[in-house]
C-alpha cells in the first residue's frame, strides 16, 4: 500500500496519537472512522476568445464520524492538529452520550485497483493546455460565421484519501479525475442555439485528447448546436419515446437509481421500499451499478468508508434484487455494504450513492424501435435530470431530439423536459437494444448538497408512454 499523502508529517499530532484519539472516541460506538483528504485541482477556461481563468485549488482536511445505532455524529475541520482532533472528538462524544454499541471491525479487503496512481495536473504543462484551448477556439471559429461563441475548459484533480478506523486499521486511495468540455453557440437568422460535449475519466488528459481527438469533441458540440438551429417546437403530451444509447441513461439514474439507494429505503421514503423481489421492470431489463470498470468516472477502488467497490445487480430481468448500501444503512437493514458509501469531500457525511449505473444490452436494433413508432420522439442527448424520490416522478431535459412520424425520424425538436414515473417507467420499456454504450465521462450526481462523479450506460430503448413537455398542442 502506498501512502501518497502523509497527513501527519507537518502536524503536531503523530499517527499513533491520532489512532489513540480515534479508538478512544469510537470504542463504544457501532461504527465510525477518521477520514483524511488532500486534494489538488485545477481549472483552465477559455471563453469569448480568451483564457478567462486559470485557477488551482489545494484542499486539506479531515472528517471525524461516530455512529451509534441510527445516530450519526460528524465533525470536520481544515486543521489536522491535536487540538482540532480532540475538539472534534469532544463534539462527537457530546452528541452520543451514553453509547453502548459494539464496534464493527470487519471491513472487506481487495487488492484490485481500477485506475493508476497519477497526478493528471502535473502530466501536462499549463502551456500545452492553453495551446489546446486556443486550438479548439480557432478550429471551431474556422467552421463558419455562424459560430458566435466558444467555451472550452480543462478540469483536473488528484484526491488522496485515507480512512483510519478504530484499532488503527488504515485504508487509502489516490484518485485521479479529469474532464474536458467544449460548448459552442451558433447563430442563424437571429436565432441562437448551443451545443455541449465533453470527455473524461480517471486517466491523464492525453488518454482522451491524443491524436487531436479534441477535434471530435468540438465536432460533436457543433453538430448538436447546428441540429438545434433547425429545431421546431416540441410536442406536448403523452407519446412513445425512443432513447439513444449512452448518456440518455441518466433516465435510469433518475428514474430508478436514486430510488434504490439504501438510505431512502431504510427510511421507507422511496417509492421502491416495499418492492424488493418484485417485478419493477419489463422482462429483459437488467440494471447494475458497477464501481469496478477501469478508469471510468464513476469507478472507485474503495469507497469513502474503505469498502472495495463491486458490481451490484439492482434489477435482474425485471426483478428488483438489491439496493445500494453504505455501512450504516447496510447494518440497519441487516445486509452488507455494496461499496457505495460516498461523499463529495471531507466536509460531508457518507451517503449511499451510485457509481456507474448501467442498463445491459438486449436483442433489438434501434432501427426496429424507430419503425415501431407512429408518433413519438427520438431523444439522443440530455442536459440533466432530477427526481422526487417519494412520489417517484422524475424529469430530464432533452438537448437533442427528433420527432418520429410513421416509423421515420423527422425534424429536430426544441429542448423539452420529459416527465415520468420511476416505479412504472421500466414496465413501459418494450424494446431493449443491442447497442449498449457508456457515456463519455461527464456526469456529476447531486444529492443532499453533495456532488460526486458518476457514470451511466444503456442501449437504445423504446418506452411506450412518457409525457413530453413541449409547447405544441
Amino acid at each position: 500500500m502506498s501512502h501518497m499523502s502523509n497527513f501527519f508529517e507537518k502536524s503536531d499530532v503523530s499517527r499513533k496519537e491520532a489512532e489513540s484519539i480515534i479508538s478512544d472516541t469510537l470504542q463504544k460506538c457501532d461504527d465510525g472512522e477518521l477520514y483524511l483528504e488532500n486534494s489538488k485541482s485545477e481549472s483552465i477556461l477559455l471563453d469569448d476568445n480568451k483564457i478567462k481563468n486559470s485557477s488551482y485549488n489545494s484542499d486539506l482536511g479531515f472528517g471525524f464520524r461516530a455512529i451509534s445505532d441510527e445516530v450519526v455524529a460528524y465533525s470536520h475541520s481544515n486543521e489536522i492538529s491535536k487540538n482540532s482532533l480532540k475538539q472534534s472528538s469532544e463534539n462527537l462524544k457530546s452528541t452520543l452520550k451514553s453509547v453502548k454499541g459494539t464496534y464493527n471491525y470487519e471491513i472487506p479487503k481487495s487488492n484490485k485497483k481500477y485506475y493508476d496512481n497519477i497526478n493528471p495536473i502535473e502530466q501536462k504543462s499549463l502551456n500545452e493546455k492553453i495551446k489546446i484551448l486556443n486550438d479548439v477556439n480557432d478550429y471551431l471559429r474556422s467552421k463558419g460565421d455562424k459560430v458566435k461563441q466558444v467555451t472550452a475548459n480543462f478540469l483536473g484533480e488528484q484526491k488522496s484519501v485515507e480512512i483510519i478506523r478504530s484499532g488503527g486499521e488504515t485504508l487509502s486511495d489516490v484518485r485521479p479525475l479529469v474532464r474536458f468540455n467544449v460548448s459552442v453557440m451558433v447563430e442563424k437568422d437571429g436565432r441562437k442555439e448551443t451545443g455541449v460535449y465533453g470527455v473524461g475519466g480517471r486517466q491523464s488528459y492525453d488518454s482522451y485528447l491524443k491524436d487531436e481527438n479534441w477535434k471530435s469533441v468540438c465536432d460533436e458540440a457543433l453538430r448538436i448546436a447546428s441540429v438545434n438551429l433547425e429545431s421546431k417546437p416540441a410536442p406536448a403530451g403523452e407519446m412513445k419515446v425512443v432513447l439513444g444509447p449512452g448518456w440518455p441513461a441518466i433516465l435510469i439514474h433518475e428514474a430508478v437509481g436514486h430510488g434504490l439507494e439504501g438510505d431512502f429505503n431504510r427510511k421507507k421514503t422511496s417509492a421502491f421500499h416495499n418492492l424488493m423481489g418484485q417485478k419493477v421492470a419489463s422482462e429483459g431489463v437488467t440494471i447494475i451499478d458497477d464501481g469496478t470498470i477501469d478508469n471510468r468516472r464513476g469507478s472507485l477502488t474503495i469507497d469513502d468508508e474503505g469498502t472495495p467497490t463491486e458490481k451490484t445487480v439492482l434489477i435482474e430481468n425485471g426483478i428488483l434484487k438489491n439496493f445500494m448500501q453504505d455501512r450504516l444503512n447496510a447494518r440497519l437493514m441487516k445486509t452488507r455494504s455494496t461499496g457505495s458509501g460516498r461523499r463529495e469531500n471531507y466536509r460531508h457525511i457518507v451517503l449511499p450513492r451510485m457509481r456507474n449505473t448501467m442498463m445491459l444490452s438486449g436483442k433489438q436494433t434501434q432501427e426496429e424501435m424507430i419503425k415501431a413508432v407512429d408518433k413519438g420522439i427520438f431523444a439522443v442527448s440530455f442536459g440533466g435530470g432530477q427526481v422526487d424520490i417519494t412520489s417517484g416522478k422524475f424529469v430530464f431535459n432533452c438537448t437533442e431530439a427528433y420527432e418520429i412520424v410513421n416509423g421515420k425520424i423527422g425534424s429536430p425538436i426544441k429542448g423539452a423536459t420529459l416527465i415520468g414515473d420511476g416505479p412504472s417507467i421500466l414496465k413501459e420499456v418494450s424494446m431493449v437494444g443491442n447497442d449498449m454504450m457508456m457515456d463519455p465521462g461527464i456526469g456529476t450526481c447531486g444529492k443532499a448538497g453533495q456532488g460526486v462523479p458518476v457514470g451511466v450506460a444503456q442501449p437504445s430503448i423504446l418506452i411506450n408512454k412518457m409525457t413530453v413537455g413541449g409547447t405544441k398542442l
Partner: protein
C-alpha cells in the same frame, strides 16, 4: 468561535505582501472562516449532528494584464508560500486579457453601513433539540404523516476582502435555519413537501409549531394527485416557485451573459420586457436582509438598483471585467444580486385565484429547464387545479412550458410579497403557458 478580523487581516496582508514581492503588479485576496453546527431529527429522534469549521483563502494575482488565481484551505504560511509562488508562475504563463484589472479606485465602498447581519447569540445543541422536538411533534401530528426529517443549523461567518489598491474590509454574518421535510401516505400515493425558515437573528426565526404544521399540511394536501390533459392554461406560481423566475431574469441580465452574447435579454436595456405594472428592485442595504451586503465580491460599493421600471429594463448586473468589456461601469454586482424582488402588484391573493375560471397553482418544479440563451422554459411540475378560486385537487406528472420573452409580458403579481429568501416574489400569475399531461 469564528476567527476574528485581526486574524483574517493578518493572513490577507501576508498574501498581498508576498504576491507583491514575487512580482505581482496587483492582487486581491479573500479570507473566510465559517462555522456551522447542525442537528438533524428524524421521526422525533436525534438522527445526526454535524459541526463544520471551514477556513479558506483565495488569491488572484495580476502581472500587468495577465491573471491567475489559487485557493486553499491550508493557511499555514509554508503552504501559502508554495501556492502563491505557483500562482505567480501560472500568471506569467497565462495570456494577457486587456480587460483584466482590479476595480476603478473611485468605486470601492468607503464607509460600511451597519446592516444588522450578525447575531451574537449562540444556540447550544440542547436548545436546537428542544426546538426540533416541538417542530417534529407538530409535523407528525396527523396519522397520514409517515416520516419527518427536520434540521436546525446555526452558522457564523467572518471574512476579509483586501487588495493591493488598499481596500481592506469585511464583517461577520450569522444565520439560523430550521427546516422540516415530511412524507405523507395514503392508499394511492406517497408525497413529500417541506417548510423552511432562515433568519440572521435567532429571535426572528419562525415558531417551531407553525413550521411543523405548515410542512405537514402542505404535504397532506398533495396526496392522491391526478394527472390532467395537455392544454394552454393560466399558471399561478406559489411564492417559492415565483422567485425562480426572478433568478432566471438575474442570470439573463448578468454582464457576463450579456458580453458573451449568450442571453435572450442582450441589447434590451431601455426596452419593455415585462408588462407595464412590473417593477424589480435589487436592494443591498436592507437591515437583516438575507442578501444584504456593503460591497460586492470585488469591494465595489453597491447601491439600490431599480432594475425594471414599469416593465422597462434599466440595468444589467455589472462586474469590473465584463463592465470594461461592455464599456460600462461596475454597479457592484460581482457575485450576483443582493435582495432581489418584484414590487407588489395591486391585486390580493384571493382575487388572483379568482381571476380565471380555471388555472393551475404550482407549488414545486423539478428539472433544469431554463435556457437563458433562447429563453425557452420547460420543467416538471406539481400543484393543484384551481376552479373558480377554489383548490380542487392535487396534480402531478405534468410539465409546464413557455418562453420567458412571452412569459415576462404576461405576468400579474399579487400584493403578498414577503422577505423570506434573498430573492423574493409575490404570488405570480402567467397567462398563455402550455401544460403537457395525459
Amino acid at each position: 468561535m469564528v476567527k476574528d478580523q485581526e486574524f483574517l487581516e493578518t493572513k490577507a496582508s501576508y498574501c498581498l505582501g508576498l504576491a507583491k514581492k514575487l512580482g505581482a503588479t496587483d492582487s486581491s485576496v479573500i479570507v473566510k472562516n465559517s462555522i456551522s453546527e447542525t442537528v438533524n431529527f428524524r421521526n422525533k429522534k436525534l438522527d445526526e449532528s454535524n459541526r463544520s469549521d471551514d477556513l479558506g483563502l483565495s488569491i488572484t494575482t495580476y502581472i500587468g494584464k495577465k491573471k491567475s488565481s489559487i485557493s486553499s484551505s491550508n493557511l499555514l504560511n509554508d503552504n501559502l508560500n508554495i501556492l502563491i509562488e505557483k500562482c505567480i508562475e501560472t500568471t506569467k504563463n497565462t495570456p494577457e486579457d486587456e480587460f483584466n484589472s482590479l476595480p476603478d479606485r473611485d468605486l470601492f465602498a468607503k464607509e460600511a453601513k451597519e446592516l444588522n447581519l450578525y447575531d451574537e447569540t449562540h444556540i447550544e445543541n440542547n436548545q436546537k433539540i428542544d426546538y426540533l422536538k416541538k417542530l417534529e411533534a407538530a409535523a407528525s401530528n396527523d396519522k397520514k404523516i409517515v416520516n419527518t426529517e427536520s434540521s436546525f443549523t446555526q452558522n457564523k461567518s467572518n471574512f476579509v476582502l483586501a487588495n493591493s489598491e488598499g481596500f481592506c474590509d469585511g464583517y461577520k454574518t450569522s444565520s439560523f435555519t430550521a427546516s422540516s421535510v415530511t412524507v405523507a401516505k395514503d392508499e394511492k400515493s406517497m408525497e413529500r413537501d417541506y417548510e423552511y425558515s432562515s433568519k440572521c437573528f435567532l429571535k426572528d426565526l419562525d415558531d417551531a409549531d407553525e413550521l411543523g404544521n405548515l410542512a405537514a399540511n402542505q404535504t397532506i394536501r398533495k396526496l392522491s394527485p391526478k394527472k390532467i390533459g395537455s392544454e394552454k392554461i393560466a399558471i399561478i406560481f406559489d411564492k417559492r416557485i415565483a422567485k425562480g423566475v426572478l433568478s432566471t431574469f438575474a442570470s439573463a441580465i448578468s454582464s457576463s451573459a450579456i458580453s458573451r452574447g449568450t442571453s435572450f435579454l442582450k441589447d434590451k436595456v431601455n426596452q419593455k420586457i415585462f408588462s407595464d405594472k412590473i417593477n424589480v428592485f435589487d436592494k443591498p442595504d436592507m437591515l437583516k436582509g438575507l442578501g444584504s451586503r456593503n460591497f460586492d465580491s470585488e469591494g465595489v460599493k453597491t447601491d439600490t438598483l431599480k432594475l425594471v421600471d414599469q416593465g422597462i429594463l434599466k440595468h444589467y448586473l455589472i462586474d469590473t471585467y465584463n463592465g470594461k468589456k461592455l464599456n460600462l461601469k461596475s454597479n457592484g454586482r460581482c457575485g450576483g444580486t443582493s435582495n432581489l424582488y418584484f414590487e407588489n402588484g395591486n391585486i390580493n391573493f384571493k382575487d388572483l385565484l379568482n381571476s380565471h375560471s380555471k388555472s393551475l397553482y404550482i407549488t414545486e418544479t423539478i428539472g433544469h429547464g431554463s435556457n437563458i440563451v433562447t429563453g425557452d422554459y420547460s420543467v416538471g411540475a406539481t400543484g393543484f387545479l384551481i376552479e373558480n378560486g377554489e383548490f380542487k385537487y392535487p396534480i402531478n406528472e405534468i410539465t409546464i412550458a413557455g418562453n420567458f420573452k412571452d412569459m415576462f409580458q404576461n405576468i400579474t403579481l399579487a400584493n403578498d410579497l414577503e422577505f423570506k429568501y434573498a430573492t423574493n416574489s409575490p404570488t405570480m400569475l402567467i397567462e398563455g403557458m402550455v401544460v403537457a399531461g395525459k
